[in-house]
Each structure stands twice: as C-alpha cells, then as structure tokens.
Symmetry: C2
Subunit: 139 residues, 2 copies
C-alpha cells in the first residue's frame, strides 16, 4: 500500500472512531479498537486506562450516558510509520474544543486504535468549519 | 534487541526528555526530538504544533521562561511496536498533575521523540511517590 493510501486508511479508521462516538454505537466503537495489541485510553481529566476491558467499559459508560457529549472531528492529520500511525485532530464538543492524539496499529490488515488521549485546547484558527445547517433554500 | 531491552531504551529516552525539561537544558531537549521524522507537540491548552522548528521554538520559550514549571515524571509505561513506541506517564507539576502521551521512533538506532501531548489529570492513585527530601539523618 502506498504512503498516501496508508494515510487515507488511517484517517478512515479515525473517522470510524468519531462516527461510533457521535452515533453512540457501542458495537462500532468495539470494532474500532485493537483486539490483540495492548490498548490504553486517557479521557479528559481522567487517569489512564490500560487494557481492552477497562477501555471498552469506559466507552460503553460514556456512549450509554444521557450526558454523552455531541462531538465532531476537525482537522485530522495522520502520520504513518510502518505498521503504526498517529492522528492529531480537534474535537468540537458543546462548550468548546478538545485536541486528541489517536494511535493506530495495523492488525490483520486493518488499522485499529490502540490509544486515545483528549484534552482541552484553544479553538483551532487554521481549520475551516463545516457550514452550520441552514434553512432549505427555496428554488 | 529484545522486547524488554527496547522498553528500557524507550523509557530511557522518555527520562531524557523529562531530565532536559527539569534542568531547562535546551540543547538536551533538542537532542531528545527526532531530526528526520516529522514531529508534533500539544502543550496543555495550546493548539497543535507541527514541525521540528515550531516544536523546538516552543520548548526554547518554555525552558527559558522564568515561569517554566518544575516537573517530575511518574509511573511511565512504555509500549513498543517495532520501530515505534509510546509512553504514558504522569507529570507532577506545581498545583497538580498532568498526564502525557509521548511517541518515539527509532532513528539511526536511537529512540527519538516525535510527539508529546500533555493535559490535566486527576492525581494517580496507583503510583508510589518518591519520598520527599528530608533533613540529613545524624549518625
């Protein structure tokens, strides 16, 4: 696979993570994370979680909570080093922005998340926001 | 190199980062970061920095500032995937704790930092603190 194709595949895996998060889809979230490689996760303000069971339990708790935040990923950039990759991106949540580092490994041919850290950030100034939804135009 | 030796070498590179930080040693900090691989850095509350020049400029500004924080690294755990590795650790600073993800690549045989993200964390409850300095015992 070419470097550009690897980057696209990593960004697609990153998008799958945020799609599962936004849709509160526990099964899709479980599929995003590596099944064999050791995984870890640092939610904003939490201690580090290590191991697939604690990490996925945290996601089940977040996704099934009534206060699960609305989230959108912006400005994702992927860097690939062989079978390992990281993505840096902003997360727009209610009340502001977070910034995240997401790590992936290639596992049985697919890019799988092995670590996620998100923390508070100032608003990105070099990212074009998707346009806000507007009322339908009358043609 | 065995997996255990790789982990030790990665943890040594991580310690070199915090030693440079604590000693405000700009040259040592420059030596910690990769010279060829693309680098990035997310300081707490900042936007992401990308590229060796902006990242090292940020460290020069931090290390030469009168308000540069005192810092100690605690509970570092390394995970190695081939020529890529990440360390999760706590940072004890004045006023509380941060938690960090530090990424390393093997570059011309040595582990070099390619990314650092630190953000606020609750106090670690599973880490033994080094003992506080005490007055010399009279023998």
């Amino acid at each position: 696979m070419s470097a550009a194709a690897d980057e696209r595949a990593v960004l697609a895996a990153n998008e799958a993570f945020y799609r599962a998060f936004a849709a509160k889809d526990v099964a899709a979230m479980e599929a995003v994370w590596a099944g064999t490689a050791p995984v870890a996760c640092i939610h904003p303000g939490w201690q580090a979680l290590a191991g697939r069971d604690p990490v996925l339990a945290s996601w089940r708790a977040i996704l099934t909570s009534a206060s699960s935040p609305r989230i959108a990923c912006l400005g994702a950039k992927a860097t690939v080093h062989g079978d390992f990759a990281y993505v840096i991106c902003y997360e727009r949540v209610e009340g502001g922005y977070l910034i995240a580092t997401n790590l992936f490994v290639r596992e049985t041919g697919a890019w799988k998340m092995v670590h996620h850290q998100a923390g508070p950030a100032s608003a990105p100034d070099d990212i074009t926001e998707p346009p806000a939804p507007t009322a339908p135009t009358v043609h």
